[in-house]
Symmetry: C2
C-alpha cells in the first residue's frame, strides 16, 4: 500500500487553519450583508461551453476539464476517439469533456444573472465566496484550488456603488485589524494617457506595460514601450505620469497639467465624486493628516499607476494593499460596462470587488493578528472516572452546552495523569473531576490548567465559573 498523497497545488486545512480562515470569511460575509449584498452559490462544475473562450487562449488551457462518465457505453467510440485526438492536438473539444471546474466566480455569476434574470430585482447586489480551480503551475502562494470572495452590483451605473464598495474594503480590513490603503484609478485616465501618447490604439500596450511596473521596474517598462513603437517624447510623458506623487489633490493637479484631455477629465470627475465621501481624504485636505472618520485603519489614495491587468474593466479600478508587509495586493476590482453580453444579455453594467483570502491569511499570520478567541476548541474536559460518575458528568455537560460552553468527556476510564496530559496536549483550559468521592459529597473539583488553581465547587457552580472564571 503506497502512502496516500494530495494532488499538487492543493491543500488540507486542519482545525486551527479552518477556524482562522472562517474568521476571515465570516468577517467579509457580515460586512457584505451590512451593505445589502446577498449570497448566491453556483455549482463547482459548469458546462465547458460556458467557460471556453472567456479567459483567453492561455486561460482555456488552465481550465480543469472533467472526463465524461460512461464512455465505455458509447456506441460511437469513434466519435470519442476523434474528440480525444483533437485534445491531443491542443484543440478545444467538448465531445468527451462536457463539464469543467469553474475558473473564477465572474463567469458563473454572469451565467447566473442571465439564467435567473426574471427572478432578480436589479440592481442586483450579490456576493459569492467559493473555491475556484486553475491548472496553473503551483508555486509559493499560488494554488490550484483557492477561494474567491467577490461582491458585485449589476444593473446600475451609479457611482454610489463605488463609494459603498470602497467603504466595504475599509470596514472589512478595520475589523480584521489590517492597516490598508485602498488605491483608486480610472480606466478613462489610462485611455487619456494613451490618447496623448500615440493614440487610443496604444491603450492596451500602455496598460499592459504599466501593469508590470511593480514587477519589472520603470526602466524595463520604458524599454517595452519603445518596442511597441512609442517615441521618446511619448515615453517621457508616461514616465512623468508614473512619477505623479503627493497627496490626492496634488496628484490631481499634476495629472491635469500633464494630460489635460477629455478622458482624464471624465475619469477625474468620477474619482473626485468618490473621494468626497471620505472625510479627510477629499482633495482639499492633506492626505498625511490623521483621519478622524470611521476609517482609522485605512485610507483612500489615488494611484494613477494602477492598471489591474488586461480585463473587462472600463471605469474606476480598485486595489488594496496592506501596510507594513510586502505581500502585494490583497483585493482588487473595478467597473465594467457589460457583464453578460457574452451570454446574450446586453446592457448589464456593474462594478465589483474581490478579496484575496489566501494573502489576507498570510498578512494576518505575519502580523500576528489572529486572536486566540478565533479558535473554537474544547473549553472544559470532564474526567472519566467510572460509569456512574460519567452519567453525572454527562448530565452536567448537557447543561454547559446549553449555555454554549464547548465540553468534552474524556473518552474512556484512564489514570488521572493520562487525562491531564490529554487536556494539556489539546490546550483545553479547564478540567472538571467527578469521581465517587465527588458524587457522594456533591462537590466537583475544577482546575484552571493555566494558573494551576483548583477548587471544590457545587455541581451547579461550574457553569458560572466557566462564564466568569475561577
Amino acid at each position: 500500500m503506497s502512502k496516500p498523497g494530495l494532488p499538487q497545488g492543493t491543500r488540507d486545512f486542519g482545525p486551527e487553519t479552518v477556524h482562522k480562515r472562517n474568521f476571515i470569511f465570516e468577517t467579509i460575509r457580515s460586512v457584505f450583508e451590512l451593505y445589502g449584498y446577498e449570497p448566491i452559490e453556483t455549482p463547482a462544475m459548469e458546462n465547458l461551453d460556458t467557460l471556453l473562450g472567456k479567459y483567453g487562449e492561455e486561460g482555456d488551457k488552465l481550465i480543469f476539464k472533467i472526463l465524461n462518465n460512461g464512455l465505455d457505453h458509447v456506441s460511437k467510440k469513434e466519435t470519442a476517439r476523434a474528440a480525444f485526438e483533437n485534445i491531443l492536438n491542443g484543440k478545444n473539444d467538448t465531445g468527451i469533456t462536457e463539464r469543467a471546474l469553474r475558473y473564477d466566480l465572474t463567469i458563473p455569476f454572469a451565467r447566473f444573472v442571465v439564467m435567473h434574470q426574471n427572478e432578480i430585482s436589479f440592481p442586483f447586489r450579490r456576493y459569492q465566496m467559493q473555491p475556484v480551480w486553475r491548472a496553473d503551475r503551483p508555486q509559493k502562494g499560488r494554488y490550484r484550488e483557492f477561494y474567491q470572495c467577490d461582491a458585485d452590483v449589476v444593473g446600475s451605473n451609479s457611482l454610489i456603488n463605488e463609494v459603498e464598495l470602497t467603504q466595504i474594503y475599509l470596514t472589512v480590513f478595520e475589523k480584521l485589524g489590517i492597516d490598508v490603503e485602498v488605491r483608486l484609478n480610472h480606466r478613462k485616465i489610462l485611455a487619456g494617457l494613451a490618447e496623448s501618447c500615440g493614440g487610443e490604439s496604444q491603450t492596451t500596450n500602455i496598460t499592459t506595460a504599466i501593469d508590470k511596473l511593480d514587477k519589472i521596474g520603470i526602466e524595463k517598462v520604458k524599454e517595452e514601450l519603445l518596442e511597441k513603437n512609442l517615441n521618446n517624447d511619448q515615453v517621457a510623458v508616461i514616465e512623468k505620469y508614473l512619477h505623479i506623487d503627493g497627496n490626492n489633490s496634488e496628484k490631481i493637479q499634476q495629472l491635469i497639467s500633464l494630460i489635460p484631455n477629455k478622458y482624464t477629465k471624465t475619469g477625474l470627475e468620477d474619482l473626485q465624486y468618490i473621494l468626497k465621501f471620505f472625510n479627510g481624504e477629499n482633495p482639499e485636505q492633506s492626505s498625511g493628516r490623521k483621519q478622524k472618520s470611521l476609517k482609522d485603519s485605512g485610507k483612500v489614495e489615488l494611484d494613477f499607476s494602477l492598471a489591474r491587468g488586461l480585463n473587462y474593466y472600463t471605469g474606476i479600478i480598485f486595489e488594496v494593499r496592506a501596510k507594513g508587509v510586502n505581500i502585494g495586493s490583497i483585493g482588487g476590482g473595478g467597473r465594467y460596462d457589460d457583464l453578460t453580453g457574452l451570454f446574450g444579455l446586453r446592457g448589464m453594467p456593474g462594478v465589483g470587488i474581490s478579496f484575496g483570502v489566501d494573502r489576507i491569511y498570510d498578512v494576518m499570520e505575519e502580523l500576528k493578528l489572529f486572536l486566540p478567541a478565533v479558535q473554537r476548541s474544547t473549553q472544559v474536559l470532564f474526567f472519566n472516572l467510572g460509569e456512574e460518575a460519567a452519567l453525572k458528568s454527562f448530565e452536567l455537560m448537557q447543561k454547559l452546552r446549553k449555555e454554549g460552553i464547548r465540553s468534552e468527556l474524556y473518552h474512556g476510564q484512564a489514570k488521572f495523569d493520562k487525562q491531564f496530559k490529554y487536556a494539556e496536549k489539546k490546550r483545553i483550559p479547564f478540567v472538571v473531576i467527578i469521581g465517587s468521592d465527588e458524587l457522594s459529597s456533591g462537590l466537583a473539583k475544577i482546575k484552571d490548567l493555566k494558573s494551576g488553581v483548583q477548587r471544590e465547587v457545587g455541581f451547579e457552580e461550574i457553569i458560572s465559573i466557566m462564564n466568569y472564571g475561577l
Copy 2:
C-alpha cells in the same frame, strides 16, 4: 449565442436558499463544536488512486475524473491513447486522469488521518461539511453535487462516543425544530441473526435484503432470502425478527427470546449502555411516555430492522427520521473497526454520523420551519434625493452599520414612487427619507412599510427605531 445552462444534476442557489442552507450548516457546526469536534477541510480534487476501489465497482464508475491538462504537450501521445482505449473499454486507468472529484468525505478523511497522523492528538474528533460529486443518474432529490456533513471520532473504542453522537443528533434537530426519532441497531445483532439463520456466511445476503425492507416490502425481502438458499424456517425467523415491536425494553425481550446467542448478547449490551444515558428512554421505562429531558423534540428507539446498507460498519449503527413527513432518513452513521487500513495505518477504529442537508432542507420547507429571521437581507433603505442628501444618508448609514443594521442607499436619484417600489419588491421593512427639506429641518422621515406608519425623527433617533421599532 446559445442560452447558457447548468450541467445536469447541479443547482444554483439564490440568496433565500443560501440563507436557509447556511442556517442548517451553522446550527450543525455550532453543535459539533459544543461537543469538542473540530473542523477540517480537504481539497475537492483527490488523486484518482486514492479513490479507486474504495466504493465498489459501481462506485468507481460514478467518480468524476479530471482530464490531465497539457496532454497536447505530451511527447508520448501513444501512452495517452493507450490509457484512453482502456477507459473506452471500461477499465480503470489513471494515465490521463490522475485526479478526480471526491466522492464522499470518509475516504478523504481517512487519507487526512494517515497523512497527518503525527500532528493529530487521538482520539481525533473531526467534522467536515463540504460538497461531494457523483455521476449518478439525476432524479428528484438526487444531485450530482451535494453537501455532506460528517462528524467522526477516530482512535477510540469507547461507547461514550456513541452516546455523544446520539446527543448531537437530538440537539441539532431540537435546534432546527424537527421532531425526530434516532434509531439504533448493532451490526453484531445482524450477525447474530445470520448465525441463527444459515450461518455467518449469510450475513451479507441477509443485511442486503433487510436493507431493502422499506423500499420493496416484506414479501419481496422473503423472496430474495429464499433465492439466496435460506430455507423456510430460517426465513420465518427473519420475518419474526423484522416484526419485533413495542417499546425498547419489549423489543429487547423479544430479541433475546428469538435469538439468544452471543452476538445478540454483545450487541444488546452496547445498546443498553447507550440507552442508559437517555432518561426515559432506558429499557425500564415505557417509550410511549412523554420525555422530560433535554430531548423533548426527539427520542431514541431501537430498530432491529435497521441495516444501513453494505458498508464498513461493525458496531452500533444510527439512522434519523423526521416524524410527520415521508422523506426517508435525514441522518445516519455507525461504528467501524478500521478507518485507515486501506492506507496502511492499522488499528484506527472510530464512529461517525452524517447529516443529510438536502433532505433536512426539504423537511424544513415542508413543515414551514424556517423563521423569517433566517433571511439576512437589507433592513432599511435610504432614499436617494440628491448629492448633498446622499452624503448625509451615507454618514448615517455608516452609524447604523456599526450597530449591525443592514442598510442600503437607493442606487441613483429617482422618483419617490420608484424608490418605494424597489423597497417593496426587495421586501425591505423600513425606508428613510432625507431630502433638502429634511437636511434643513434636521429631521428625517422614517416609514414602516408593513404597518404604513411614518414619523419624522431626529437623525440620531433612527438607530433606536431600527432596534426597537417605530
